[in-house]
Symmetry: none
Subunit: 408 residues, 2 copies
Amino acid sequence: MEKIKIVSELAKKTNSKIVFLIIDGVGGIRTIEHPQTELELAHTPNLDALAAKSMCGRSLPATFGITPGSGPGHLALFGYDPLKPEHNIGRGVLEVLGIDFDIQPDDLCARGNFAVKNPDGTIADRRAGRLSTERCIELCNKIQESLNRIEGVTVLIKPVKEYRFALIIRGENLSSALADTDPQQVGLKPLEPIPTENTESAKHTAEVVKKVLRAIESVLEKEPDANTALLRGFSKDPCLPKMQELYKLTPAAIATYPLYRGVARLLGMDVYRPADETISAEMELLKELYDKYDFFFIHIKKTDSYGEDGNRESKIKVIEQVDTELPTILALNPEVLVVTGDHSTPTQIKAHSWHPVPLMIYSRYCDVDDVKQFNESACDRGRLGIIPATEIMPLALANAGKLIKYGA
Amino acid sequence: MEKIKIVSELAKKTNSKIVFLIIDGVGGIRTIEHPQTELELAHTPNLDALAAKSMCGRSLPATFGITPGSGPGHLALFGYDPLKPEHNIGRGVLEVLGIDFDIQPDDLCARGNFAVKNPDGTIADRRAGRLSTERCIELCNKIQESLNRIEGVTVLIKPVKEYRFALIIRGENLSSALADTDPQQVGLKPLEPIPTENTESAKHTAEVVKKVLRAIESVLEKEPDANTALLRGFSKDPCLPKMQELYKLTPAAIATYPLYRGVARLLGMDVYRPADETISAEMELLKELYDKYDFFFIHIKKTDSYGEDGNRESKIKVIEQVDTELPTILALNPEVLVVTGDHSTPTQIKAHSWHPVPLMIYSRYCDVDDVKQFNESACDRGRLGIIPATEIMPLALANAGKLIKYGA
């Protein structure tokens, strides 16, 4: 039987609490030029003391060699196999989640680019000269008005960043079985939104999207910097099983960035935004919420951002800030505390990577191994070895006494 | 292809011998209060000397975070994936195996409770005041007579312990697709044995079970301490492939407790009961049987019992007894000797747990690693790492020279 189903059948409600401290992109690599990782260079007395009381290892976000995006990386942490087609969160949905929009089951989502067409209809610039975010907001506002006149559906166009926008079409009988209109290459004409399934719903949706594109173009023809829009990643809420039903948890998410809040919302978490973007504000929120929930996902963003910038010093500093704030969590005395990341973002690579992430699982019954530091070299000697990230959730539930015995 | 099928296709008969020494619940955990496990505290010179000649690691009975019952735990050791629905041994079957009853393919098994109903038909006590085992035997004897009069089937009622009994209905065309009659809660009425499948066989079986329940109640109405019976876990022999056909082995089991003998019998092992419950009696039996078989499952029970009692000292003592007896096995010079448990039973938890179990596989060709002790901390540094328990059997067969090459 599938792992998540076994776990679900064995899950029971208890009073014990589980905290997932997810340090985005925390994992690093050891190279000849930089033989120590960011975690190894950081001064982390609190994380190290916790490692000495924990079970350690490495978490493999997707599978060997596969670099996960933030969506799959987080799904795995919460026990959802990110490689399962039903667990796929579409690009459009991710874009819309990224602007903190509350997606409804009837919403069809797509990501859009403002672009420039040549007089012959071929694409001259897929990003409309990387127009500014301000200009993107202006264009979206102008277009929104004409979209209100499309019959039978509600269409929302929302600025994202620079030339990027999110499109939400809300209505009955909409299908996500539509091909991208973005040809992904200059010199080619934009594509039609072709149905990829032979269903009435897909054909109907294709007609709606054509109307939307015509409405967008009719506004843009008066503008100097963009005259068309390219759409891709048509998708809807994948309707994943919620953590409440799946694990009998009452889960809360604390995150500063919209995408992570969005993924958490899809999984049934109540989502909270801290007073500001600091880690200490997130910890304050945890204290406030602590009595109301039995599962907490705390997301630390900046380690990943600095990892992508290749900024070793700043990534190290964020890790040290997390270390400084750790005692706030410990003082709450959760039955289970998991510390790991959703993937590695080595500063040498300046991008997400496929390397497994240092992992520690603390509980009274975790079975303490010999690891006394929280970093790559130390966790490599942990008892867990390299485990799929999807195994963290079952282990956390077991350690919290939330899983009954399997069979007699 | 499924692992067990690949192994089966490659298995060949040889003269080499494999011994599985299964120390039930032997695994322990390291906590802050008790930083050493029972295996680490025990004086085990023989096990340690064997570890120095073996390949070590940890065996994961079911999957990460899942605590197995004894049934699934043992199935895994013999290579049968315990999470596969076809490998599920029903509750009723386990109860009947637990009284050392030889289940036939036509037998429908259930576990029963003697219980007390109120005048309005609701359950007042699901366990009939936890009546004594003596009284349970008396009641079963009285009831058996009236069950002999049910037409078309043979019905056996066998005392288990206190208020618990086992029911076996033997006849043609019986189905296990019946719902429990035990509502699992006082204040509710017992349920009808409702067919869970729309088949003639299930409907017929439901009628038979109703007759059985009426016969039981008609006897009990004259008794002061119980007036009804609750049935659950209707199930039949899952007809698992036997180890003879699967692995071309001639297997024997040596076990003192009925449940383990029962599971071994389901897998095709010839089952032997030692002269008494001591480990040395089990070893005597091994010596006697050694020439007749090529696979031996020796089950040591008391480590688990003391683990469940939270009795560290006694669990340690049993481990030391095993160590003392180990030379008897070594003197027989089996080609392969596996030492592990079916799951962990840490004395700190006083129950089965999800933690992987120390494992060593000895053979002349096992590929000796650096581990020189048989315990959790040492095995954590073994070359095998954490492997599913279902991989032990293929490794044992390979080490015994009983698997041919896969492909050319």
